[in-house]
């Protein structure tokens, strides 16, 4: 018998995913591609006529949409399924009766989220290549950015989901964090367009750093800040979020 690890937790989630993967293709792949076409091509023609961005609008928002999709998947997988595993299906209680530790549960969920975002990001990159919006071989590094952004945004949300008792609390998370970040974290327009207060909120969000790293990689341009700062900031969210999630899982499962 091997020592406890996050792998069986990942396997549990993966077994469930294999039953429902068809539905997720729409939300995590087709929908962002439709956004890319709809906004990039139609809205893009207006934006490009003013020529303020320096690159075609579709090239500008494609890496942003990639990061935003990664962010949405990571948050989605770290909210309802997690609360469900505590309160409705009681999966974690079943795991708790085995040698698995709270750290294995958090680690397994992150592994699963990584697989989800990596496949979606890879698919999205292929579509981007077909549209000719990739301008640098560094574009492949967006896969690493996707993994880092996913853990930076999912880990603290895992802690949040382990701390609430009803899914009403997700409305608060989405209203005050997820939706504002999606709109104002530089996916659709540069944050320098924002008033100073909102700009600082964008800087504080993990998503903005993921967007800018992806954009620099696909356009072959420099990041607004030195890239290690962006990476370091995301790593801080990841490490802090992971530690908090472990603690919250442990609290929730011990009495």
């Amino acid at each position: 018998m091997t020592s406890p690890s996050p792998l069986p937790v990942f396997q549990h989630r993966w077994t469930l995913y294999l039953r429902t993967w068809r539905g997720s293709v729409f939300s995590s792949f087709l929908l962002p591609v439709m956004f890319l076409l709809g906004m990039g091509l139609s809205l893009g023609s207006y934006v490009d006529s003013r020529g303020t961005l320096g690159v075609p609008y579709v090239d500008y928002i494609a890496p942003g949409l990639l990061a935003s999709t990664v962010f949405q998947i990571a948050i989605g997988e770290a909210t309802w399924p997690i609360l469900g595993s505590f309160s409705w299906v009681r999966t974690y209680h079943a795991m708790r009766a085995s040698p698995l530790r709270p750290a294995d549960m958090v680690g397994g969920e992150i592994l699963y989220i990584w697989l989800r975002v990596a496949t979606s990001a890879a698919g999205f990159l292929i579509v981007m290549a077909l549209f000719g919006v990739l301008h640098s071989p560094l574009a492949v590094t967006t896969l690493l950015v996707a993994l880092l952004l996913a853990v930076a945004s999912a880990a603290p949300v895992l802690a949040y989901s382990a701390s609430i008792s009803t899914d009403n609390m997700f409305a608060i998370l989405f209203r005050f964090a997820v939706i504002p970040m999606t709109l104002f974290a530089g996916v659709f327009f540069p944050v320098t367009q924002l008033p100073l207060v909102l700009r600082w909120l964008a800087y504080a969000s993990p998503l903005w750093h993921g967007v800018e790293l992806s954009r620099a990689a696909t356009l072959g341009t420099a990041t607004p800040w030195p890239w290690v700062w962006h990476v370091g900031y995301l790593a801080a969210w990841a490490v802090g979020g992971y530690a908090l999630a472990r603690l919250r899982f442990s609290r929730r499962l011990t009495d």
Binding site: S5, H12, T15, L16, R90, H93, A94, A97, P99, D255
Partner: protein, 310 residues
């Protein structure tokens, strides 16, 4: 004692804030034994089970499971436990077999071994025909049997069953009891909690009676009945009449009488003789029943209350 007990508790306490759920209990469970915690809801049985299952650290006292410390060796102990929780935690979206193989994964059991064991266990709990079905449409009894199979997937040294038949209809209960009895015959060590005296009588070699977080009696079902009750019980009903006035009129018949909301229990070694004495006094009960004493009577004698609140 030659063999080390699988469970060893001394002065075990569990507090939740000001509330004391388990108030200083001493328990030893030995290999091969079938041991029960009998008591009403809220007696502290489930809290005790959760401490034994290493998911709830004791507030005070000593607890050793399989010779290890549950606080520090939790994962090592849990690797050798089989837990059938009171609240269902099956994965409704997965198939019957997947529920077993995925769970086996939690114990680090290899896929091929897990699949072989799953097939064997489904045969044992009589669910082999449902192996490929999803769990969701299964009946309560089938889900409980599947949970029992799941608890056996790691070939545990100690199986913990928290209220294994609560919420099941009589037929489903008997099927579960029959499977558990087979396990007991195979020499598997079972520890169960129950508030059903018939369950305790059928399955337990030895049990403790718990009330308000304390152990009020300990022994085999038979020895407990012998020590705390008469051989037989006469149950008298008097229609819808208030029962208190009859108590005085029954004085001297049997050893003593207990008044329940719907009937009077007269404790006597010879129930038929006691019934004859009742009739001689000119009393006309609406129904008369003579039965053997049960653990229910032991509990009533010890605590003045019934196990299952009507």
């Amino acid at each position: 004692m030659a063999e080390e007990p699988l469970i060893h508790a001394r002065g075990l306490v569990k507090r939740f804030g000001d509330f004391v759920a388990v108030n200083g209990i001493d328990v030893d469970v030995h290999p091969g034994e079938s041991f029960g915690f009998l008591g009403p809801n809220g007696a502290g049985k489930s809290s005790t089970m959760r401490m034994i299952g290493c998911v709830s650290p004791p507030s005070d006292g000593t607890l050793r499971i399989l010779g290890l410390d549950p606080v520090h060796d939790g994962p090592r102990i849990r690797a050798r436990l089989g837990v059938c929780p009171q609240q269902d935690s099956l994965d409704a979206e997965l198939t019957v077999t997947e529920n077993l193989t995925v769970y086996a994964g939690y114990f680090g059991i290899a896929r091929a071994v897990a699949r072989a064991r799953a097939a064997e266990l489904l045969e044992f709990v009589q669910l082999a025909e449902r192996a490929k079905d999803k769990v969701e449409p299964l009946s309560g009894g089938m889900k409980r049997r599947l949970t029992i199979a799941r608890a056996l997937v790691n070939e545990p040294d100690l199986v913990l069953l928290d209220e294994p038949t609560t919420g099941l209809d009589p037929q489903a209960r008997h099927l579960v009891w029959e499977r558990l009895f087979r396990l007991k015959q195979r020499g598997v060590t079972l520890v169960l909690t129950t508030h059903y005296m018939d369950e305790a009588e059928q399955l337990c070699d030895r049990l403790v009676v718990m009330d308000s977080g304390r152990i009020v009696a300990e022994g085999s079902p038979r020895s407990l009945i012998e020590a705390h009750s008469t051989r037989e019980v006469l149950e008298l009903r008097f229609g819808a009449d208030p029962l208190e006035p009859f108590v005085g009129k029954l004085a001297g018949i049997g050893e003593r009488a207990e008044v329940l909301p719907d009937r009077i229990l007269v404790y006597a070694d010879d129930g038929d003789a006691a019934a004859a004495a009742v009739h001689q006094r000119g009393l006309v009960p609406s129904s008369v029943l003579v039965r053997r004493s049960s653990l229910e009577d032991v509990f009533l004698t010890l605590t003045g209350r019934t196990l299952v609140e009507a």
